[in-house]
Amino acid sequence: MTTLRDRPAPAPPARPGGAGTRARRGAGWWVPAGVGALVVTVLVAVTIGPADLAVGDVWRSVATHLGLGGLLGLEPLGALQDGMVWQLRLPRVLTAAAVGAGLAVCGVVMQSLTRNPLADPYLLGLSSGASLGAVLVLVAGWTVLLPVAAFGGAVLALVAALGLAGALGALTPTRTVLAGLAVSQLAAAATSFVIFWSATGDSYREILSWLMGSVAGATWTSVAVAGGATIVLGTLLASTGSVLDAFTFGDTAASALGVDVARVRWTLLVGVALLTGALVSQSGSIGFVGLILPHAVRLLTGARHRLLLPLSALFGATFLVWADTLARTVFAPRELPVGIVTAAIGAPVFALLLWRGRKVA
């Protein structure tokens, strides 16, 4: 049988081990390793803070609340320390993990769906819409409504962006991105106007902290909302690996591989928007996680999604927990919004990735 004349063997890859080799070597261990790293991260991060708590104390508190205290013969922690673990640090750490995981998955999906390496979960104006909603209620002093207003703002922005893109014709990546940009700019302008016109004294700091993104006020409700959304929607999104793979060479190629391009794009965009909206409602819009993590993990896994999606979730969670730990300890007792930390880490890392990828791009 005929084969094409074999091409001469290629020069050795520019970097030792191309994406393909890397993707296969030991790949089976990455997800378990990622899970392990995340669990350790959560357990350690809870112990870090102004009042020192040992890992054992944390386990005691957690085990007691899980009803395992009697079984293991543990003495309950003192009320103060217990409250510190169970009411403050644990919800905060878990919220950070859920938000980090969700944002990273959303980032992967957005980048693949739009075939735009600069895409992030906020691409369709979601963060600007959420910000507008949040700032409106903060200025009005209705702080309790903040999550609802932020989520509502994100969903409205999505509807506006998809409506605009759809009104211009088929929902192509370019058109979707441009429509998102337009909505984003408009919402940002409106937000600035509201702040400029009516924000006073205290609300400035509150607004700024929200705009930069923060999990400082996280409660068990935040864990439920962010965690629930990440587990339900994130799992759905993360199970679409094969479909996203099919988009690698564009819409026509995806369609020729049997994918209903229009339906998949609508479904995934809406899924990403709902998840992002839920996350933003709890933490404000934390930047760079959804942009950087997917690129960093692709260096390990290559562009196939089956490993990329779950690993991005695990690494995103781990990353944001540590970023938040830095945010609350570096200038203790003052806290930074975690968004400042992710930006401070993310911007140089992004530059590094660009530099590493220069041969390819």
Partner: protein
């Protein structure tokens, strides 16, 4: 570089043998007795318009099983559009003004009525220019061709990888399996796309200028692989620009101009001055190849 050394190192079963087994089940597949007149692609009265402009105007086009068919025509004549409409990746064809309903049949079955995934197991499309900036290895790119063959939740099976490696070998790219697609030359990438289509194990292979970017030896090699697939029972339809390449390697050609079929049939009947002079606006002379007996075309400007 020696253009004539060919290695036939790979031993995997020929890609395409699965086509008959996997293609159209449910009584529309080819019987073992093989090829009668209705075998292969049979498209009739295909029209397609965009923004009120008729890009395809009642095109009739066949690509019999076991043959390599060439789709010819000047730039903008509608070759790529026709291939996409046939592949079902463009909106369905419209009915030509005054004509009957469009139909696209393969082995007698209505191709465009098939569910997408099933259609993707029957036909593969190699596009004109498809690229990615993502860090994707060549093997992973070829494995994309297996997507229609497995459940959307499943990963690559050992069989998938075997088929992908065989397809790569068949496209002469076995040594490139671990390279990143974005770092390949245009010709190498073209071969990867061919391999990806082969990994789909299609019964109908549609190719849009598969010899683009290829050196002359690689062009002939590609056409030889297509011939080989045809011999394995695949219907092959390739849009080509090089009329001489088509004359040497195709069994059957269709010439498009302005979205209409100008001529179709055997290369000896179609690749003649009466057809080509008008379509391309050149002056064409036909010689006969001393060894193959096929037409050799020369062109000079019309005065």
């Amino acid at each position: 570089m020696s253009g004539t050394t060919r290695t036939t190192a790979h031993v995997a079963p020929p890609v395409g043998t699965d086509a008959r087994r996997d293609g159209l089940g449910d009584g529309v597949g080819r019987g073992p007795s093989g090829r009668d007149g209705t075998d292969g692609l049979d498209a009739a009265r295909v029209s397609w318009s965009v923004d009120g402009r008729l890009v395809l105007d009642g095109v009739d086009c066949t690509a019999p099983t076991g043959a390599v068919s060439g789709l010819l025509g000047p730039n903008g004549s509608g070759k790529s559009t026709l291939l996409r409409v046939l592949a079902g990746v463009r909106a369905a064809p419209s009915t030509a003004p005054g004509g009957g309903a469009a139909q696209v049949r393969f082995d007698g079955a209505d191709l465009l009525a098939l569910p997408r995934r099933r259609r993707a197991r029957v036909l593969a499309l190699v596009e004109q220019d498809a690229t990615t900036d993502l860090p994707l290895s060549v093997l992973d790119a070829v494995l994309l061709g297996r997507i229609p063959h497995r459940s959307l939740l499943a990963g690559d099976s050992a069989h998938d990888r075997e088929v992908a490696r065989a397809a790569l070998a068949r496209a002469g790219m076995a040594a490139f399996a671990e390279r990143e697609v974005a770092t390949l030359s245009g010709g190498e990438r073209q071969r990867v796309h061919l391999a990806r289509a082969l990994a789909q194990e299609p019964a109908l292979l549609l190719l849009d200028e598969p010899t683009n970017h290829l050196d002359i030896a690689a062009q002939l090699d590609t056409m030889r692989v297509l011939r080989d697939l045809a011999d394995d029972g695949v219907a092959v339809l390739a849009a080509l620009h090089d009329l001489n390449l088509a004359a040497q390697t195709c069994d059957h050609v269709v010439v498009l101009a302005d979205g209409r079929v100008v001529a179709a049939g055997d290369v000896h009947e179609v690749l003649v001055p009466e057809v080509l002079d008008a379509v391309y606006g050149v002056r064409c002379e036909v010689l006969t190849h001393p060894r193959t007996g096929r037409p050799v075309l020369t062109f000079t400007p019309q005065d």
